[in-house]
């Protein structure tokens, strides 16, 4: 493997956000997704591809507030979560290309990336599907007394699935160390969230007495702060939290939708949100604060671009998953 995961650096969880580290993660996600975009356009990526561009501050802010051994579950728009939790872009590309060295040996693909060692229990093709799984992981953490926290990433659309409410009740009842993180990108596929989802998402935690906060999902510091607080609460036995991160996806719901979807979002809205690019915002803050200069920022961009390109090259040259592998891994033969 040419690139390494970032699991180690997350040892700093619970402390102040390292903004340069956050920037690096966000740029890495952006570069990964841009590569996916190009690959999809050239017909190189099979299956569904849901890009995370525009939402990078959420994954980065949240995962940098977690420990390396904390767990996350994610959804169909999960590349950013995998990377932010410490996933290796090379093995991710390998997975998306159906290679043997992909995270799941080519069996999972974009919607089912699992990186067990980094605590990434799975992106998920079923909207809302990961929420109970994170809740169960949190139960295990509590029961084992290992002080780990589980965090579930899901979209605004998932907040209409019954399991979201059921999990809130259960987590509140048992004070489970779980963080429910809703990324409200204001659309559920091609429909505006308010046309499907009544009221404020944060309000949905109120019946269960679960603390809820809405934050600017394009402000990595705000996300980090909210998750850090929630993780602290979880670790000290005070139970679950709900965090709503308001953000926007720049791309379509999935790549290639343009041919069918029509214009379901005003161009002006897209432009407005592009002007609030979370990466550019963080960079200008770092420049203002004197933490970075143009050259150092360029260096980060260049190094992340290089890393992603090398990751892709490696994955692209890797051997395809052998077809017989399609029949393995249904059951584990081992005794636990």
């Amino acid at each position: 493997m040419v690139s390494r995961g970032m699991a180690d650096r997350a040892a700093g969880a619970g402390t102040e956000l390292d903004h340069l580290e956050a920037l690096r993660v966000m740029i890495r996600i952006r570069e990964f997704e841009e590569m996916c975009r190009r690959l999809f356009a050239r017909g190189r990526l099979p299956g569904f591809v849901h890009l995370y561009i525009g939402q990078e501050a959420v994954a980065a802010g949240a995962c940098l507030a977690l420990r390396a051994d904390d767990q996350i579950t994610s959804n169909h728009r999960g590349h950013g979560h995998v990377i932010a939790k410490g996933g290796d872009p090379a093995r991710m590309f390998a997975e998306l290309l159906g290679k043997a060295d992909g995270y799941c040996g080519g069996k999972g693909g974009s919607m089912h990336i699992v990186d067990f060692p980094s605590g990434m229990l799975g992106t998920n093709g079923i909207v809302g599907g990961g929420i109970p799984i994170a809740t169960g992981a949190a139960f295990a953490n509590q029961h084992l007394g290992n002080s780990r926290v589980a965090l579930s990433f899901f979209g605004d659309g998932a907040t209409n699935q019954g399991v979201f409410f059921e999990s809130l009740n259960l987590a509140a009842l048992w004070k489970l160390p779980v963080i429910f993180l809703a990324e409200n990108n204001q659309y559920t596929e091609w429909t505006r969230t308010e046309d499907l989802t009544v009221g404020e998402i944060t309000q949905r935690a109120a019946p269960f007495g679960v603390p809820a906060r809405q934050v600017d999902g394009n402000d990595v510091t705000a996300v980090h702060e909210a998750v850090r607080e929630a993780a602290g609460r979880a670790r000290s036995g005070d139970g679950p939290s709900l965090i709503e991160c308001v953000t926007y996806r720049w791309h379509g719901h999935n790549e290639g939708e343009e041919a069918f979807a029509g214009r379901y979002r005003p161009q002006s809205e897209i432009e407005e949100w592009k002007a609030r690019d979370p990466i550019a915002a963080l960079e200008s803050r770092l420049l203002d604060d004197g933490v970075a200069n143009a050259a150092s920022l360029d260096a980060i961009h260049a190094s992340e671009r290089g890393l992603i390109e090398a990751a892709y090259e490696w994955a692209s040259a890797a051997p395809a998953a052998p077809v017989e592998d399609a029949l393995t891994d249904v059951f584990s033969p081992a005794r636990p």
Binding site: P46, K107, G108, G125, I126, T191, V323
Partner: protein, 322 residues
């Protein structure tokens, strides 16, 4: 009779149903713009009162179909991808499939649930189910799976007109298939198979996209002097055993192709029926070609490896003839 894509023909069948009965209403995620294409444009003709975008609350929506049907509408519900039926399974299996029976026949439930089904284009394990055996097991659901654009239209109209819950499964990989489709309203009757190709040596029963595979193999084997009969049940429950048994009585040989996983699949049902009811007709062991008992993998080469393809089907037919 114009040419049409299967998914468009299905949509046209739905449009005919909505035209003829104002009680037909359509629910679906993005039903207005239609991710899969099967409801595209209907909102323009029928308006947002009858074409409803729904929240991601599929279990509740399926139950709403039951209540709305009981209360006088004929709801049609787009669940998009057949894997998503699982989330609705209680409302589907414990309520929709059983309410009429439990009520002693008091209630009539004209409701259609449809979705794209089957592996197609590396959609991976959670978007590639072929769950029709699970629906067949429920007893109170009719289950249809068209393999041609014309049947897609005619079965949709028949499904909406039917007074019972119907699960309509549209093979994802066949959505873009083109073929001739009659204009205007017409029905393909539920419960009736069709013989896609007549033959004398072996009966091949094929569902959904495996019909085309069967026909290709039949054509190829024709060149090798083997005469293959291809039957497309179209309705998988209740299915047309008569047509199949009549064919097996002539050919003595049976090969069944199914997109579902093997264990307790539809191929098992057809073979068990033939062997228990027409054992004397069989001159050779029946053969099944199905998906193996594994979830659907993502990578194209893995997905392809599991597919019911011409190679496997030809081998199966030849085995039945050996």
């Amino acid at each position: 009779m114009g040419d049409s894509y299967l998914v468009t023909a299905m949509r046209d069948g739905l449009a005919e149903a909505m035209r003829e009965d104002p009680a037909v209403v359509l629910f679906g995620e993005d039903a207005d713009r239609s991710v899969m294409g099967s409801t595209r444009g209907l909102i323009d003709e029928f308006g947002p009162d009858r074409v409803r975008n729904i929240p991601l609350s599929e279990a509740t929506i399926v139950g709403c179909g039951v209540g709305a049907a009981a209360a006088g509408l004929r709801p049609v519900i787009d669940l998009m991808v057949s894997s998503f039926f699982y989330i609705t399974m209680d409302q589907l299996a414990n309520q929709a499939a059983k309410l009429r029976y439990m009520s002693g026949g008091q209630v009539q439930l004209p409701v259609v649930y449809f979705a794209a089904t089957g592996g197609a284009g590396s959609a991976a394990a959670q978007h590639s189910e072929s769950p029709h055996p699970t629906f067949i097991q429920q007893a109170g659901l009719k289950v249809v799976m068209p393999s041609t654009p014309s049947d897609a239209k005619g079965l949709m109209l028949a499904a909406v007109r039917d007074p019972n819950p119907v699960v309509y499964l549209q093979e994802a990989s066949l959505g873009g298939t083109r073929g001739p489709v009659p204009e205007g309203p017409f029905e393909v009757p539920l419960g009736k198979a069709t013989v896609r190709r007549e033959g004398a040596d072996v009966t091949v029963v094929a569902v959904g996209r495996t019909v085309r595979v069967a026909l290709a193999v039949a054509e190829e084997l024709h060149g090798e002097g083997v005469s293959v009969e291809v039957i497309d049940p179209r309705t998988l429950h209740p299915w047309d055993a008569d047509t199949v048994m009549e064919s097996v009585a002539r050919t003595g040989r049976l090969v069944v192709l199914d997109t579902a996983r093997q264990s307790c699949g539809f191929a098992a049902e057809v073979i068990a029926t033939a062997c228990t009811e027409a054992f004397g007709s069989l001159t050779a062991a029946p053969v099944r070609v199905t998906a193996p008992d594994v979830p659907m993998p993502f990578a194209p080469q893995l997905e392809r490896h599991l597919a019911v393809d011409e190679h496997k089907v030809k081998a199966a037919v030849l085995r039945s003839l050996a």
